[in-house]
């Protein structure tokens, strides 16, 4: 697929035609596209509908349902902050205030500050070592603003 411009119609077709038999379904098709390009490019909806012989509406339905799927390229660093109960009990509200002070964003649904995106998530499976944060897929336990800063630097 490297032969085509990332996200171009040809690149999309090439990813889709390489789907193994048990992944010729809407969600895996979208996941493979996101794996290849970092996001689901424009035009992918029609291509997926064509390739899998399903309606456009079904593809859009799946694309908009799942939180992980994104239609815009991700910035350099993606920070997922767990705001669920165990992390609340371990001071995530303070961490959120710290982030707001340092990066001037209120952590919400994919809020962006420069090259960093902050996203609220519910549990990262690290509930005894909270607050838990994931930076570009790397889990950070007992996270405070200092540890977060280090992790963001390392991810850049």
């Amino acid at each position: 697929m490297s032969a085509y411009a990332p996200g171009s119609a040809e690149a999309v077709r090439s990813v889709l035609s390489a789907l193994p038999a048990d992944e010729r379904l809407i969600l895996p098709a979208l996941q493979r596209l996101q794996e290849s390009f970092g996001y689901i490019p424009d035009g992918a909806v029609d291509a997926v509908a064509d390739e899998l012989n399903v309606s456009r509406a079904e593809v859009v339905g799946v694309l908009t349902y799942y939180h992980d799927l994104r239609q815009t390229p991700p910035p350099a660093v993606v920070v997922q902050v767990c705001v669920a109960e165990a992390c609340q009990a371990q001071g995530v509200r303070e961490l959120l205030r710290g982030i707001e002070g340092e990066y001037a964003v209120a952590v919400g649904k994919r809020t962006v500050a420069g090259d960093v995106e902050f996203d609220k998530v519910y549990c990262l499976g690290n509930c005894a070592l909270g607050p838990a944060v994931m930076v570009n897929g790397h889990l950070v336990g007992r996270c405070d603003t200092r540890r977060l800063r280090t992790a963001i630097e390392a991810a850049r």
């Binding site: 969600l27 165990a86 992390c87 009990a89 909270g130 336990g141």
Partner: protein
């Protein structure tokens, strides 16, 4: 050659285990010591992570929590011989926190390199599958039923009954689906088992497949668990090469193969029918039941759906017999439960014990109370849909029925501790907000009710028309409980109502005193 164990578990890595392993390697090379560093799973003593262990003639000696800066001084203190040091906890087998547990599902987790199949075999692995392959299918199902094993995903349904239903269903294709969505906050046992003991899960699924007549298995893992996904995929490859997954399981002529499917970030997809929709590549909408998945599940075929912990308990049941498992436990809750101590707790982690242990023993004796030493005010048991219980009524035996009688639920065994700074009105609001964000949208009480719930709680805490809004909140809870298709909308009222019942003062504070 001396062996040092440094956990590869994500929780251990999240507090520096990889850095410690790297530093150890460098320091040992510099000292010319020939030492093998094994990356094991975690023992589940998470407050001690990174917890490293050294093999000595007197058994494995543990140290923790170890930082990069500790490595040099530890080596100076004779780490390689299990030497004394402030971070030393002595022989790991004798640490009371660990030694007093009854580990069945977690027996191997933290002990071995999770991907070392020889270790797995040497410690009794694959005996269950071997035995199952010599038994008629209905006897395997009968064994699982006799063990008393109930689903660990939350509902607690007897596993053996499901197995028999799928076994007896006639179809050209059947499936075993492992629910590894582990969406409940405060729970991490599925993750630790997948990362630290994947072969037990694969073996349990193979046994289930053989018994139920299913040749294909799928493991639906949440995307928040990349390390678990990697470990499982590698473990599956190893098992295939070794011949116990694939077309001819251990030379029996029977087929069972497995595949890992990555989820895409939706809490409701942990509900089994929504998971099946998602596995079919669709929106994760909950299906009405009947039909039950055991008869019409994945792609309409009979499907055995179980949680990670349910399936991982199966190899031991088949290997050591149903009676041994059944002998553990309390009343109608048989065997062991993997409790997860989380939140503001001094000694958080994995405690696997027979059912019947009290919440007090778990939270105070094992957990050591709050981490920051403040008074313990509330405990949420069973995830985001579980009840908040007051810190002064912890004498509840932990089993399905006793918890239900106390107005709670066991769920996936998560226990989250809060100190006296917790604002229970904010926690109730959060429960409604979570439901509003994660609702699949199929039923109005869940979708709209939760959004209204947030607004009503906001009015209550703002002091607007309090009494009327409290009545309204109660009515909303009732509508959600009665009118929701699944437990998302049906149980969200549980944390809300329990907060109201046990901590009414938090809903009656002067408005400016409540957190926004």
């Amino acid at each position: 050659m001396t062996r040092i164990y440094v956990p590869r578990d994500s929780a251990a890595v999240s507090v520096g285990a990889d850095d410690v392993a790297r530093m150890l390697e460098e320091a040992l090379a510099a000292r010319g010591a020939s030492v093998e560093i094994v990356r094991n799973g975690s023992r589940g003593m998470l407050w001690l992570e990174p917890f490293i262990e050294v093999e000595t003639p007197n058994g494995r000696v543990g140290y923790g929590p170890v930082t990069v800066e500790d490595v040099g001084p530890l080596l100076d203190a004779g780490l390689l011989d299990g030497g004394a040091h402030a971070l030393c906890h002595g022989p790991v087998d004798q640490i009371p926190w660990l030694a007093s547990q009854q580990r069945v599902s977690f027996a191997r987790v933290g002990v071995h390199d999770p991907l070392d199949l020889d270790d797995y075999r040497a410690s009794g692995g694959l005996r269950g599958l071997q035995r199952a392959l010599t038994m008629p299918d209905d006897e395997i199902c009968a064994d699982v039923l006799a063990s008393g094993l109930r689903g660990r995903g939350g509902a607690g349904f007897p596993a053996g009954i499901k197995w028999r239903t799928v076994m007896e269903a006639e179809a050209d294709q059947k499936y075993v689906c492992c629910n590894a969505d582990e969406g409940d906050s405060g729970t991490f046992a599925d993750r630790m088992l997948m990362e630290g003991g994947p072969f037990a899960l694969l073996e349990g699924m193979a046994i289930a497949g053989i018994a139920a007549g299913a040749t294909k298995g799928l493991i639906y893992v949440r995307s928040e668990y990349p390390a678990a996904i990697r470990t499982l995929r590698t473990a599956i490859d190893i098992a295939r090469v070794d011949g116990w997954l694939g077309d001819d399981v251990l030379g029996s002529g029977r087929a069972f193969d497995l595949r890992v499917v990555e989820a895409a970030g939706s809490y409701v997809c942990g509900e089994e029918t929504a998971m099946l929709e998602s596995l079919e590549g669709k929106r994760g909408m909950v299906r009405p039941k009947p039909p039950i998945p055991a008869l019409q599940g994945l792609f309409g075929k009979p499907t055995l759906v179980h949680n990670v912990l349910t399936l991982s308990a199966v190899p031991a049941i088949l290997a050591d017999g149903a009676a041994a498992y059944q002998a553990l436990g309390f009343d109608r809750s048989r065997g062991t439960q993997v409790f997860q101590l989380a939140g503001n707790i001094a000694r958080g982690g994995i405690v696997e014990l027979a059912f019947g242990v009290t919440l007090r023993e778990l939270v105070l004796d094992y957990g050591g109370g709050t981490a920051n030493g403040r008074p313990l005010r509330a405990v949420q048991v069973g995830g985001p849909l579980g009840a908040y219980l007051p810190g002064d009524t912890l004498d509840i035996p932990m089993d399905y029925e006793a918890l239900a009688a106390a107005g709670g639920l066991l769920g996936h065994g998560g226990i989250v501790v809060f100190d006296d700074t917790v604002d229970m009105a904010a926690q109730a609001r959060f429960a409604m907000e979570f439901c509003a964000v994660e609702s699949c949208g199929k039923c109005t009480p869940c979708r709209i009710g939760s959004t209204r719930g947030v607004e009503v709680i906001d009015r209550i805490t703002a002091g607007i028309d309090r009494d009327r809004n409290l009545v309204l909140l109660e009515e909303l809870c009732e509508t959600m409980t009665d009118g929701s298709l699944c437990a998302m909308g049906g149980l969200t009222p549980l944390p809300v109502r329990s907060a109201l019942a046990h901590f009414p003062e938090d809903f009656h504070r002067a408005p400016e005193a409540t957190e926004p």
